[in-house]
Symmetry: C2
Subunit: 336 residues, 2 copies
């Protein structure tokens, strides 16, 4: 089994640097095959690291003096802030001083930086961001949720193939079911993009295309890979988060409505918390940005140490399974 070196953006996300540094410490402590390069403002990181005992050979601080904020226009930020944690960390991956990059920082900057600094695998038209969604049956990959709005059908076909490779090799799902997000089950339904994409997916012999999926059946887990353009993908991902939050608030309100319900709530609390934790979009580590010359994982802006740790350790499987190599073979040499 190989080792993995992960460059981690110590300055990115709502809880940086505290939770990021903690997550990095947890990762190297839990898994001896993981080395972390914590990238960011040295003084700040070292101050945090003082709190912990850890293997200093496998947790190294790499200096980056600038920080890209969430609100900054991504292209400008990546071009101008050459010494930002995101740019420095991506350059570590580019120069083979790290195998992967994990960030909870600006999604736009990570997407743009990944494409500009690492570049796309030859043959890959667009690099999709692919988060995992919790479902009744387990998890599904939603591909794309990135910045690729106004996608073309050829992009969606590539997303389907990359998503299928990811679910099969990283998540271990044999022959993953691939479906196209649409407003009806029938082939002739939908907007011009999905109508154009459907027959192309049907022709793909290397994926298990099961047809259209309505948004209603996404939470039920009817498909392992849900193919969509980034606009609709973003709507699904954000609504998942927002609606779950609203429903929980409503449920809490019901629990507090009388003495009787308060007592009932006490009896249920623990079991309910456990159930709902398994259904959080944050429970399954970060979202890979697929199709790049190097591995990039974007975690939630609100990530805590556990998610950072999971995202770092996830990179080990990604490297071991040689996902980029498989995508490379399929899209460059193995082009159909």
């Amino acid at each position: 089994m190989e080792n993995v070196i992960v460059a981690v953006d110590a300055m990115g996300g709502d809880n940086a640097p505290v939770e990021i540094v903690k997550g990095a410490v947890l990762a190297v402590t839990e898994n001896p095959k993981v080395t972390v390069k914590l990238v960011g403002i040295e003084g700040v990181i070292n101050e945090e690291l003082k709190k912990y005992e850890y293997d200093k050979e496998r947790l190294i601080v790499v200096s980056a003096s600038e920080v890209i904020e969430t609100g900054e226009p991504p292209v400008n930020a990546i071009r101008k802030k050459k010494d930002s944690s995101i740019v420095v960390a991506l350059n570590l991956v580019k120069n083979h001083e790290a195998d992967a990059f994990v960030s909870a920082g600006s999604t736009g900057a990570v997407l743009v930086g990944g494409q500009l600094i690492l570049g796309k695998i030859k043959g890959v038209e667009r690099a999709p961001l692919a988060p995992l969604l919790p479902t009744e049956k387990g998890i599904s990959l939603l591909i794309d949720c990135g910045a690729n709005v106004d996608a073309r059908s050829s992009h969606l076909v590539q997303f389907a193939k990359m998503g299928s490779i990811y679910m099969e090799n990283v998540l271990g799902i044999k022959n993953p079911k691939v479906a196209l997000l649409n407003i009806g089950a029938e082939e002739e339904k939908g907007n011009s993009l999905v109508k154009e994409t459907y027959p192309l997916l049907k022709e793909c012999s290397d994926i298990n295309f099961i047809g259209n999926i309505e948004a209603r059946y996404v939470p039920r887990g009817d498909a392992d890979v849900i193919v969509t353009d980034a606009f609709a993908g973003n709507v699904v991902l954000k609504l998942y988060e927002g609606l779950a939050m609203t429903l929980l608030k409503k449920i809490k309100g019901a629990f507090m409505s009388s003495l009787k319900t308060k007592i009932g709530a006490l009896l249920i609390k623990k079991s309910l918390k456990k159930t709902l934790a398994s259904f959080s979009t944050e429970a399954h580590g970060g979202a890979p940005l697929l199709g790049l010359n190097g591995l990039v994982v974007k975690t939630h802006g609100s990530s805590k140490a556990i998610e950072i740790k999971n995202s770092i350790i996830q990179c080990l499987t990604f490297k071991e399974q040689n996902i980029n190599g498989i995508i490379h073979d399929k899209f460059d040499l193995g082009k159909e």
Copy 2:
């Protein structure tokens, strides 16, 4: 105050004719200003009506010998089945023998029938289907969820205006907040359709445009009118329904996990049920199909008698407030 005559599709929906007929009886019983024309196979309807006592002058059966099934291609069905309940009922509206049409039947057939038989108000480019979504604050109008995929920016501007008129006049929300569904808050975010639409909405002096809304904040109720093309709108509506169902299943699972939780569940059950009922997408009657020469309301395929009753009574406000007249003035004579 006026009276209203509502043509009801007795044959449409999963629970037809039983629940439809019951809903019609409830409507005329509850509100003396409502007259219902129940359209469908006479023998079947009369058999159901035998169960009830009702004012026979305000509940009239109109014969239609054919039924359009949910799976049928809508355009063909409307053209060929001239004696179907949908076509006959829409003709009642067209010929001013009814003020409105309510159906729980095939959405496609109702949309196509409405446009072909009633026609659009002059100046209206497309007729949007606009369901109400439950939110933390109350309800929001999601416009469009119909068949208008591949919408243009001018359509979205019209949807914004029609939605605003509806919320102000039917729901009584003063100066309703109108937002554009997008993948970020900033004006420059999104696909080409929303980027083109944003500045057009900003220029509209007759609506209260508050900018973009991310799907995450739809359930929180940040906007009264959510403007979107039918593809994304359908994704929002269907995911709302699917995710709520899945979360409830999960919660029920947590309730049943031990004796302790089962006891807790007993104490909470009633309060929770009440809370969640207020958050059902089915709790707020049907979705109007706006912009037509006549009022059409589409209710859920799974509608029970209560929803049918609510949808019928809703037509009274719609008529009293002269929504079609207002839309007509704005889009035809009052065109900007």
